[in-house]
Subunit: 335 residues, 2 copies
């Protein structure tokens, strides 16, 4: 499998990206195309890998920053690591693209340069968050801030197939994010969507509240991109806040430091559960190519895990399956 | 000050409610009207308080349950603790009403039986959540699942005045919940609302993301009721999940138990920060009466603190101030 990686995206680029890519080559045997400033990338490739037949550098002189307007950046910076990487997928030289750069530019670029799977109206950003009982995909977490019932229906199908085919969860439970569990609750969007979701051939469990999600009530949480973004970021933010506050308590005095030392291995195992680097990245589902958005603060391990994720999507033929499932849906899909 | 309390609402009613009410009388010198099943309430009033001139029982034979349709329940159960309590405020026999019962019924009842402050289009449920640097009001957290820009504008005014006049925070920072900090980001609602918020005479800091809220970027987080509900419940849910998982780690073996013992006081202080009972309840702002929704699982301390909150609203003449501020707004308010 051939994977293009935006070597210039994210807070720790290009070093963490290059190191993660090399680890992925060692571990998964994939072929990697590092896209970006050649001179800078080369610095971080160890001598023995410089002429490795599975690591390539594709020179791209421009970088798209987080604060640039996404569509304009994609259109203007034709020689950016983002655009060049996307083109490698479009032209079928690579099977997947991975970036820790601007989420907005990545999404805009995926749509403009690669395009959607036939039948999908809107692609979705679909990160996975830890829960008490395992993990849950939030779909959509920000690609579509104003969504329609038909979008939510497609998100449900894409999310459930991902959890089943890529993550190996049998018959994943799908919930609709809402303000209450009762059928009549919700805003216009959820009220219009629930029947559409119920009619799908999925393990749909109805409305779920945000606190049920962290408890582990479902493996796929379907939502519009605005509230999904709020859900994702408040889980991340609360966990981060609690860890910071705990650390303060643990380092307050000699007694607490000793106590924390005794708890060290347990705390480490626990923190690992809430560590985004374990889950790789968030796929953009619905794009006609394997696209993985890694976290902006990805370290080498996170990049390596994002490569593993791309490989799982590829090995399990996710794109083909989605195409045929959405096709089936289209036949009896009346909005 | 005279406060009516729904003695039958919440998971621990009537015991916790009655005990909390008695504590509040002792501590704040308020006069309490316990509304509900007289026989059941009397069981939990200690002998020395049975003839206390500041504790009264108002008999009400019916109870509204959480699973009842709110409007129908309010209309049909005229002799419920909820409706009788609300009437005490409407008829000016009491200055505030407090309930841990059904949020939906409380809101519907407040609107139908007491009504809005003149000039307010929609009242809001406004709970306070802990942050890294203090606390933040989420307004609205579920009263209006489909909101308009004008509603958000009024939420901002009501929230900022609450934090300033009731919580004593000088010039509270007001943020608009959004998917990104940049001005152009967001859904239709936030894009239409930001200019309206910017024009208010408030310390408006612009868009805020969910993870900024837990970090403590603002004291008032303005949002539609749907995403506010998601924000509130995911903060609660994540904190709960982390505490449960920590507890498992801390009781795993002798070493970890000893470590946890050394950290005991620190952990307790830390957990207190995330304890809803410390903050009392969530006010319904915009109703023409002081309405406090206490948490469904309130214990006696939570009820006592919710009474303190009602007293602060009363002592600081919150309703009068809101009335005049909204009036000012109305003059130059073009939607």
């Amino acid at each position: 499998m051939k994977i293009a990686i935006d070597a210039m995206g994210g807070d720790n680029a290009p070093r963490a990206v290059v190191e993660g890519a090399v680890q992925a080559v060692q571990q998964y045997g994939v072929e990697i195309f590092l896209v970006g400033l050649k001179n800078e990338i080369e610095v971080y490739i160890a001598e023995e890998y410089k002429k490795h037949n599975k690591i390539h550098i594709i020179d791209a002189a421009e970088i798209i920053n987080n604060d640039e307007a996404p569509v304009a950046a994609i259109k203007q910076k034709k020689n950016s690591s983002m655009v060049v990487g996307l083109k490698l997928v479009k032209e079928e030289q690579c099977d997947a693209f991975l970036s820790s750069g601007s989420t907005g530019a990545f999404l805009a670029g995926s749509l403009l340069k690669v395009g959607r799977i036939k039948g999908i109206d809107r692609p979705a950003l679909a990160p996975i968050v830890p829960t008490e009982k395992g993990f849950c995909m939030i779909i959509d977490a920000g690609a579509n801030v104003d969504s329609k019932p038909r979008n939510l229906q497609q998100f449900a199908v894409m999310g459930a197939l991902y959890m089943e085919k890529v993550m190996g969860i049998k018959n994943p439970r799908v919930g609709l994010l809402n303000v209450g569990a009762e059928e009549h609750k919700g805003n216009e969007l959820t009220k219009q969507s629930i029947a559409l979701l119920r009619n799908l051939d999925l393990n749909f469990i109805g409305n779920v509240e945000a606190r049920d999600v962290t408890e582990g009530i479902c493996e796929v949480c379907v939502c519009d991109g605005f509230s999904g973004n709020v859900l994702l970021k408040s889980i991340e933010g609360t966990a981060l806040t609690i860890f910071k506050m705990l650390k303060q308590e643990f380092t307050k005095n000699v007694k607490s430091k000793f106590g924390a030392m005794l708890l060290k291995s347990g705390l480490r195992a626990f923190k690992k559960n809430f560590d985004y680097t374990e889950y790789g990245g968030a796929p953009f589902l619905g794009i006609n190519g394997i696209m993985i958005k890694a976290h902006g603060s990805s370290d080498a391990k996170a990049i390596k895990n994002a490569v593993r994720q791309a490989k799982l999507l590829y090995d399990n033929q996710y794109l083909n399956i989605i195409g045929s499932e959405i096709n089936k849906l289209g036949a009896d899909n009346v909005e």
